[in-house]
Subunit: 175 residues, 2 copies
């Protein structure tokens, strides 16, 4: 949840929106309000009562939670569970996966993933690609797929039926 001043902290709003995090704009006196359809954004004029702010924050929280259902789980030991199965992930891939899970079903930008995977600063330019490739292979048995959205980032989702049957065909041909 992000609380931010409007229009002072315009960039923080953009960042939160890009990451899909719920946000409440505290609108300064005399300023006008942006018209935003996103259900994870709301606003309130300051000064405002504690209670009013609390209500808006709570509603945003619930909406955010409502959109997160049937999401894979990743525990602290790097064990990823989904649909009854599990695999273990090495450190770097676990951090990448945590990022993808946070925005399950939506695009995560490359730079965001890069920050998540290497908090101390990214190594080579292609390291991310390689790790995504390895991650893909590791999570395939759980029927999870990472889709590429060119020049934007990656997106984690459950394998669709047609994809599953594709795998079947590939197996047949390989066999």
């Amino acid at each position: 949840m992000v609380l931010l001043r409007w229009p002072l902290e315009r960039e923080r709003r953009e960042a939160a929106a890009a990451e899909g995090r719920p946000r409440l704009l505290l609108v300064e006196e005399g300023e006008s309000v942006p018209v935003e359809e996103d259900v994870l954004e709301d606003w309130i004029r300051v000064p405002a009562g504690e209670e009013d702010v609390a209500v808006r924050v709570e509603v945003l929280r619930r909406r955010a939670r409502a959109t997160q259902q049937n999401v894979p789980e990743l525990d602290r030991d790097g064990v990823l569970r989904f649909g009854g199965g599990w695999v273990s992930l090495p450190p770097v891939e676990a951090r990448l996966m945590a990022s993808l899970i946070e925005r399950f079903g939506a695009v995560v930008r490359r730079d965001h993933l890069s920050d998540a995977g290497w908090p101390e600063g990214a190594p080579g330019r292609n390291a991310l690609d390689v790790h995504v490739l390895r991650l893909r292979r590791r999570i395939a048995p759980l029927a999870l797929v990472i889709k590429t959205v060119r020049s934007r980032g990656y997106l984690l989702e459950a394998e669709t039926d047609s994809e599953a049957s594709d795998n079947g065909q590939v197996h047949v041909r390989k066999a």
Copy 2:
């Protein structure tokens, strides 16, 4: 759209909620606010500025239209969602699509689209046509169609049943 006083008009709120109509609660001074997750409900404390009320009403209108008319959604990462599926759109096509969605079901003029797609000025005259063609093919799997209105512009809408059966025939022939 229902504007009602809270908590005076409690029944009107219930009725509107039951019918799925968007509603704005005008909360009387000193009264507390209900926590409601429904995206078609919002509230504001009175007295409030005309503008603030207008913004909340406008947002509710848009959400109502989006949920009831089943308008496709385009997120910031160029992912277009409709009817359970999604496709990703490259930058130019995403901007065109945003324009078409804004006027979903209505005609968008060619010059308007051109401005939307190329804010810095359009390239060749043919560029728009080609991108509309590519857009058409890309969104076909989502059962969305772009219709041409000769010498007027283009129009985005959901595929009708008869159009869908046409596709079926094409599939049969390909198989």
